[in-house]
Amino acid sequence: MLSTLRIAAMSAAIVAVAATSTTAFAQKKYDTGATDTEIKIGNIMPYSGPASAYGVIGKTEEAFFKMINDQGGINGRKVNFVTYDDAYSPPKAVEQVRKLVESDEVLLVFNPLGTPSNTAIQKYLNSKKIPQLFVATGATKWNDPKNFPWTMGWQPSYQSEAHIYAKWLLKEKPDAKVAILYQNDDFGKDYLKGTKDGFGAKASNIIMEESYEVSEPSIDGHIVKIKAANPDVLLIYTTPKFGAQTIKKTAELGWKPLQIITNVSISVGSVMQPAGFENAQNVLSAAYAKDGSDPQWANDAGMKKWNAFLDKYMPGVDKTDNGVVYGYGAAQTLAKVLEMCGDDLTRANVMKQAASLKDFAPDTLLPGVKINTSATDFAPIAQLQMQRFKGQKWELFGEIISGDVPTQ
C-alpha cells in the first residue's frame, strides 16, 4: 500500500516536472536572428564620408557587446553585433540594411545614425515588421507609434530641447530680444521650429534668425551681423566646430549677450576648451548625459564603470568624444530591453519590451534623468537639466525638465 502510494507520488512528481519543463520549453519563442545561443543585431554607421566622426558610436557599441559577451551574454545568449558602413548616403543605407535583414538575417536594426539614412529605411523596416530601435537622430518624427510602430528614437528630440530653452527664457527674461543662429539643415530647422513653438504668442521676442551652411569655413561674418542687431540673448544651434567659433568670436568682439548653446555642442574637450574657457564662462545649455571629460563625475559609480569599460575594451580612445558616452548609453538600453525579453525573442516582443521601460537609468545619464516608454510614448529620453559653464566644467542648476513634444 505504502509503496503504491510512493509510486503514485513519484509519478505525479515526474509528470509535474515534465509538465513544467515542457511549458518552460514552450515559452522559448524566436524570430529570425535569435536562437538558444545567439542574438543577431544589425547596425549601420557612417564609418566613412562626411559624418565619419560619428563612427566612434558604432565602435563603442561593438565593444560594449563584446564586454556583455565576456560577462556571459544576455540570458545566456551571446550578442552578435553586425555593423556596416553607409557613408551617410541614403541609397547605401538602404543597401546595407537590406543586407542585414535579408542576408545576415538579424533580429533587429539598432541605432542606425542620421536623419536621411533613417528616413530612407523606415518604410522598408516597418513593412517587414523589423524593429528599427533607438535611432541615432534627434528629429521629432521618430516618436510616431501610430504610423510607424516598429521605429523608436532614443535621445531627446531637438524640438523638445529648444522648447525647454524658450520656456526658460520666457520665465527668466520675458522681455529679452532673442537672436537665433542655426545650421541650415534638418537639425538647425528642428531647433528653430521648437524655439518658435516654445515662445508661442511671444514669438515676436525673436528679432533675428540667421542661418549658415555647414560647408562654410568660418561663421565670423554671421556673428558680426547678429551683433549689429544688438539682441540680449543669442541661441546657438550649431554643430561643435561652429559652436566653438561662435563663443570665441563673441568674446573677441567684446560682446556679452546671454548665450545658450545646443546640447549637441556642449563637449568640454571639443567645444569649450577650443573656444577658450575664459570666453565660455556663463554660457548656458541643457544636458541629459554626463560629459566624459568633466572632472565632477570622476567619482560617479556609473562613470567609473564607463571608464573601466573604455580602459579594457577601447584602450586609447578619446574620452572627450561625446560619441563614446552616447554609444555606451544606447547599447546599455538595448541590453536592458533584450534582458527584459527573456526567452521570448520575437520581434513583436522586442518592441513590446522597448515600449515598457520604466525608470531605467543607464550609467551615463545625468542623475535623475530616466528612460520611460509606453505604447503611446516612443521617445525614451525626454528629460533635460539646465546647466551653466563655470570654470572648466558645467554646473547643473534647476530641476530636471521634461520636454515631450508630441508628433503632429
Binding site: Y88, V94, E95, P116, T119, Q122, K123, K189
Partner: protein, 339 residues
C-alpha cells in the same frame, strides 16, 4: 596588342581613340551576358536582386558618361547633378502628381536632356580640365539647390521624399524587387542598344571625329558646337533615366544621396570599365558597388585606404580597365583554339 597598348600608355592622351567596332561585344558574348542577367535573379535572394538592380542603374549612368567621354571626348564630373534631377523628377511626379512610375522615366529623361543640352552651351567654350571643373561646380551646387526653401514644398527640403515601390503589374506572381529588376533590365537593354546604334550612326561618327581632332572634324563639315552639346544632352538624358530608376529602387530621394561623391564614383566606374568601351560600364558599376563593401570587410577603420589601394592596383595593372582584360581573354581563347 601589347606593343600598341604600351605606346598608348606612354603617350597618355586625354581620351584614347577607340574604333567604333571595339566599342561593343560580339553577338555570342552578348547573348551569354544577357542570359546570365535574365536567369540569375530567379535563383537568388531578394537582397541580391536589389543589388543587381542597382548594378544596372549605375551601369546606365556610367554608360551615359561613357558616351560623353569615350564618344565625344568631353569630361564631366557633374553627372551626379543630372542623376539628382532625374531622381527628383520621378519622385515628385510619383508622389505629388500621382503619376505612374513608368511614365515618369521618359519625362525625367527629357528634362535632363534639356538641362544637359543647356549646360552644354556655356561648356562649349571650355575643354579638358576646365570643362571638368565647370561640371564639378554643378555637382557641388546641386545638393544645396535641392535644399532651397523655394522648392521645399516639392522637394521635401533636407528631409527628402519617400517614394512608393511599385508592385508587379497584371497580378504577375513576382516580388516587387524581381519585377523592378526585369523592368530595369528591359530599359537598360533598350538604352544600351540605342547607344550602340547612336555611336555607329552619322552622329556617332561626328562625336568621334570631334574627340579625335576638333579642327579636322569641323574641316569635314561637322557642326562641332551642335554635336558637343548634343553629346551632353544625350548623356544627361540617360543619366536622368538612371536617376529616376534609382529613386524608385531605393524608395527615397534626399540631397545627401547626390553629392559630388556620386559623380566621382561614376567617373571611377567609367575608367575602371574602360573609357569608350560600352560593355565595360557594367563592370565599372560593379566596381563602385561591390569594392567598397569588400574594402569594408577587410578593415572597417581603414575602408577608405583599402579602397584606394585596390583602385591603385587596378589602374596600375590594367590601365585600360575591363576592356584590356577582355582583349587579353579573347587572345588567350584564340590561342587555345589554334593549339
Amino acid at each position: 596588342m601589347s606593343a600598341a597598348a604600351e605606346e598608348v600608355v606612354t603617350e597618355a592622351p586625354a581620351v584614347e581613340a577607340v574604333p567604333k567596332r571595339a566599342m561593343t561585344l560580339g553577338y555570342g558574348t552578348s547573348l551569354v551576358v544577357l542570359a546570365a542577367l535574365v536567369i540569375i535573379p530567379l535563383l537568388v535572394k531578394n537582397f541580391i536582386i536589389f543589388q543587381m538592380t542597382m548594378l544596372l542603374i549605375y551601369g546606365l549612368a556610367v554608360l551615359a558618361l561613357n558616351i560623353l567621354t569615350g564618344g565625344s571626348g568631353q569630361f564631366s564630373l557633374g553627372q551626379s547633378a543630372f542623376y539628382a534631377v532625374g531622381a527628383y523628377t520621378s519622385a515628385i511626379l510619383m508622389e505629388h502628381v500621382g503619376m505612374n512610375y513608368a511614365l515618369t522615366l521618359p519625362i525625367a529623361g527629357v528634362i535632363c536632356f534639356g538641362f544637359g543640352f543647356l549646360f552644354g552651351q556655356p561648356a562649349l567654350r571650355l575643354s579638358g580640365v576646365y570643362l571638368a571643373l565647370a561640371t564639378f561646380a554643378l555637382a557641388t551646387a546641386m545638393p544645396q539647390l535641392l535644399k532651397l526653401g523655394y522648392f521645399e514644398h516639392w522637394t521635401g527640403g533636407v528631409q527628402g521624399l519617400v517614394v512608393t515601390k511599385p508592385d508587379a503589374p497584371f497580378g504577375l506572381p513576382m516580388s516587387q524587387d524581381m519585377w523592378l529588376y526585369y523592368f530595369t533590365l528591359a530599359i537598360t537593354i533598350a538604352i544600351y542598344v540605342a547607344s550602340v546604334n547612336l555611336l555607329r550612326s552619322r552622329s556617332g561618327r561626328a562625336f568621334m571625329a570631334i574627340r579625335d581632332n576638333e579642327i579636322a572634324a569641323s574641316a569635314m563639315g561637322v557642326d562641332v558646337a551642335l554635336y558637343k552639346t548634343l553629346a551632353f544632352g544625350v548623356s544627361a538624358g540617360i543619366t536622368g533615366v538612371a536617376g529616376g530608376l534609382g529613386a524608385i529602387a531605393v524608395q527615397f530621394v534626399a540631397p545627401d544621396g547626390y553629392t559630388i561623391q556620386l559623380a566621382i564614383s561614376l567617373f571611377l566606374g567609367m575608367v575602371v570599365g574602360g573609357v569608350g568601351w560600352l560593355p565595360g560600364s557594367i563592370v565599372g558599376s560593379a566596381f563602385i558597388i561591390f569594392v567598397p563593401n569588400i574594402a569594408e570587410g577587410i578593415s572597417k577603420g581603414l575602408s577608405g585606404a583599402v579602397f584606394g589601394v585596390l583602385l591603385f592596383l587596378v589602374i596600375f595593372l590594367v590601365p585600360h580597365g575591363a576592356r584590356q582584360v577582355a582583349i587579353v581573354a579573347q587572345q588567350l581563347a584564340a590561342k587555345l583554339k589554334k593549339n
